[in-house]
Structure formats: structure tokens, C-alpha cells
Symmetry: C2
DNA sequence: GTTCATTTGTTCGTATGTATC
DNA sequence: CGATACATACGAACAAATGAA
């Protein structure tokens, strides 16, 4: 099974082989064999398996959970195109989106929001704070800001539809596009980690996005942090929307987390 | 200086004020006053300052380093457009790009590379491993793979020009575009942390990119990890290449790191 | 290597205002 | 009205990290 001529180290060969199998969709339930099982299968010591597994875990292809097992990393993949369509992305991956609205309030614009939305300082801003879920697992926590004067009807529309996109449509914004997005990574604050149900030591992806209506007027500023262990982004370069990479197979370590109070879903 | 009518809490007012000053380019040397100094300036307790600073650090606007001080976060901003132009991005931000080539080798394709470049298994692949610097500070470590048969002349061209883009031009690829990119965050491996001269506990941004030539033939697969504390990405949405956000002022905690052996620069 | 000054990080304690029951 | 809980703000002291002498 392994190349005996040793042109490659054993752990490298095993890592390649496992990576192949993971991306090919073997381990359909999302669970890899235990380390002793793999050691037996490849006829090597468990240390060798651990080295191979370590490489793949580093690459983000699999995740290892002490006491539980090794699992195919099933990152949600958000496509960053011209339009923000997170719910559609989720559904296309067979996940059920949900959200939990933490607050809806009209406040004075903070300086950054005023600048990004091109408002006067202290102009009123409608602010929606919410957590997004996929299959009951938290994936993002974000604050979405809108010019309150223009979108006075948005709170009610949002309460009805429970969707920002749908609520915007009700307010006359039939379409909106991504104006600019900044992406960075950092460690979460205590509050963010709590909302995302993740460890403080695990990184988050922060996206700061500005959306505009068809007339190129800025209507939304979003500051969203995504759970780094559960989300990745894909940027389509050309016109082809080809899917590459992880097949998003079976089930994760299972839903150990108690489903929080999810409003929509 | 602060609003006495207390419509907002002190720490919120101070956070807003500091954010404004940071984005306005005050603190031109990139260093904020010490916490006691700020406490004296605003006439509040150091705790109140710390709370305000904590908010801004959470937002990624500033970075706090124990024993050193508080600094304006000066992320390198890479624009993710149709063409990968990292060096040009760097120069436009007044940074001097450099690189350190760790290895240039022709090897058998690993499964992921073969798939992404649409090669047969075990087809020869030219692999360049290198670290990129900006002003002598490591910002990324990456492995770049090319079909070896087509790009037999690339190693020499790369040795001459020390630039992948320039070397590709010499090989007849006058232009190339980003086909697809996947972005995710994770913690670095021990080796990556060493190359990037960063702590193991600080996250990295991983970009997996596939580039194609003008005939849409895939010619390059890159797996690059960026130092999360020093890099962020910007996605231009529309046609306007407007610059928003941090002004990228003065100097970071200073170049504490000894400049490693940098080849080009 | 040791010492020292500087700076942030942490943990006590205390007091006050505000919302809720 | 009181009782309780919570966020805000201040004061003091010590711990930990860093850089330089």
C-alpha cells in the first residue's frame, strides 16, 4: 500500500493518501478511523499516523478533537461575489440557516459607521445585532447598520420577514451589491467567543462590508465575525462558478451544543 | 472635552474619540499615549481608558502589546482583484517588498496540486517555497506550484528575476489572473509560526489560490499563509478602487525583529 | 546574565446610578 | 417603598512582559 522505495517519508505518503480520501468523499460520515485503526491499516506506528494527521489538521482539512476523534473539517463556504447571499450559500450546501436577533435599536452613529455610510456625525442609525446559525451551530455574529431616516420602516419589515434582504426589499431596495469588504483575522473578544460558542484561543474571521443600492448609495454597513473553525470564504475569480475543494460530506462531531433560542430557521 | 450630560458612558465616548483620532492620522508615529497618560488627558481612571482601548483592539483598530504600549494597527492591505499583484500593493503602501526563497524543487504532484492544476497523478511539479517580507518583517509564507513540463525554464528565470510574475513573463505568460481563491483562518503550525516570526497563539490567514493564463489554463497553485496580525485583505466590490479605513500611518512597535536573510528586496 | 524603568495585565475593594421585581 | 442585580467609575497594589543600561 505504501511506497517501499521510500522516495517519500511514510508520514508524507500517508498524509497524501488521507488527504486524497478525504477530498474524494470517503469517510462519508465525516469521521476518520481512530489513530490505532489507521496505524493498523497502514502498518505503521501510531506516531507516524499522528504526524500525518497533524499535517492535515494544520492545513485545515481535518479537525482533531481530543477524546472524540478525528473529523473531516466541514467548513461552511461563503462565496464572496457581487451580492451578499449568505442564506442561499448555506442552503446550497444543505444547511439550514437560522438566526437569533439580539437587539434592534436606533442610535447615534459612531464615527466609523457615519464615515462609511456617509452620514453626518450623530445621524440616527438603525442597528441590528444578531447571530447566524447553520443547522443550529453558531457561525457568525454581526452588527448591521443602516441610515435610520431612510429605513424607518425596516424594523417592522425585519420583524416580519426575519431577513435583512427581504426587509430591504420591502423598503424599496430591490437589489443591493457589495461595495467593499475588508477581511482580517484575529482572536475573539470574550463576548464574541460566547456568542459563537467557541474557545477564546480559536481565531475568527472579521468581515467589514459596505453594501450599496442600485444607485450606488451606501445603505448598509456590516461588521461580522465568523467562527474561524467553521467558515471559509471563496472568491470566484472568473465567470465560472466552479466548485473546488472539500465536498462537505457527512456529519460533524454531532450537535453537542444545545440549540440556543433560534428565531428564524 | 467629554460630554458631561452623560448621554453616553465615559468609556464609549473615549472609544469613539480615540477611534476618530486614530483614523484621522493623529498618533503619526503609530504609538498611542500610555494608559496613565490617556487617563490624565481625559480625566478618568485607568480602568475607563482600558475599557475604551479594549473595544478598539477588539475591532482591530489598534493593537495592545504588554510591556510595550498601544499601537495603531497597521495592517498591510492586499487588494484581491482579478490579478494577483502583491508587490505592487506593498509598494503603493510605501513598503519595501522582499523575499527569501527557501527551496526550488521539481517533485511529484501531491493529490491536491494535481487536481487543482488538472495534472495527472505523479506529474512533475515545480515547487517554490518562500517567505515574503515587507520592510524586513515577514508577512507571508507560501508554496507555489507550477506544471514542471510547461515551465521548465521557470527556475532559471526565477533565479534571475527573483519574481514569480517576472519569471512567468519570461516563460511566455504575459498575464495571468486569479481563477479561484479560498480564504480561511486557523492557528499556525510550529514551522509556519517560526517562518512568520509570530506566536503560535496568533492566527494566520490561509489563502489557497489558483491562477490561470489568458487561455484559462491553470498554471499556478499557491498555498500561502499570512501573518494575521500584519495583513488584511480588501475586496473591491464595484469598479471604484476607493480607499477606505485605516490611513496606515507611522511605525509599528518598531523593528524588534532582526532582519533575516532576505534575498531580493 | 542582572538590574532597572516602563508599560500593560490582573485583582482586590469601594461607591454610585439605574433598572427590575 | 425596599431589595436586588447589574453596569459604571474610581483607587490601589501587585504581576508579567519588554527593552535598555
Amino acid at each position: 500500500m505504501l511506497d517501499p522505495e521510500k522516495r517519500l517519508t511514510l508520514w508524507r505518503q500517508i498524509a497524501d493518501r488521507l488527504a486524497e480520501e478525504v477530498t474524494a468523499g470517503r469517510f462519508g460520515d465525516g469521521r476518520l478511523p481512530t489513530e490505532p485503526q489507521l496505524a493498523a491499516r497502514f502498518g505503521v506506528n501510531r506516531h507516524t499516523i499522528r504526524r500525518a494527521i497533524g499535517v492535515l489538521a494544520d492545513q485545515g482539512l481535518i479537525t482533531v478533537e481530543q477524546g472524540l476523534g478525528t473529523f473531516v473539517a466541514r467548513h461552511l463556504e461563503y462565496v464572496l461575489g457581487r451580492r451578499p447571499r449568505f442564506d442561499a450559500d448555506l442552503r446550497s450546501q444543505g444547511r439550514e440557516p437560522g438566526r437569533c436577533v439580539l437587539s434592534v435599536a436606533t442610535i447615534e452613529a459612531d464615527p466609523a459607521t457615519a464615515r462609511d455610510l456617509r452620514l453626518n456625525r450623530s445621524a440616527p442609525v438603525l442597528q441590528i445585532e444578531m447571530i447566524a446559525y447553520a443547522d443550529g451551530v453558531a457561525v457568525s455574529y454581526g452588527i448591521h447598520s443602516f441610515p435610520a431616516r431612510r429605513f424607518a420602516a425596516l424594523p417592522n419589515a425585519f420583524a416580519d420577514t426575519n431577513s435583512i434582504t427581504a426587509a430591504l426589499v420591502r423598503c424599496g431596495v430591490t437589489d443591493h451589491t457589495r461595495e467593499v469588504t475588508r477581511l482580517l483575522t484575529r482572536l475573539p473578544s470574550e463576548r464574541e467567543a460566547r456568542y459563537l460558542e467557541q474557545a477564546l484561543s480559536r481565531p475568527v474571521l472579521q468581515a467589514e462590508a459596505i453594501n450599496a443600492d442600485l444607485a450606488n448609495v451606501r445603505i448598509q454597513r456590516s461588521l461580522v465575525v465568523f467562527a474561524g473553525d467553521r467558515v471559509q470564504f471563496r472568491l470566484a475569480g472568473g465567470s465560472t462558478g466552479e466548485t473546488i475543494g472539500r465536498p462537505g460530506s457527512g456529519a460533524q462531531p454531532a450537535n453537542r451544543r444545545p440549540s440556543p433560542a433560534i428565531i428564524g430557521g
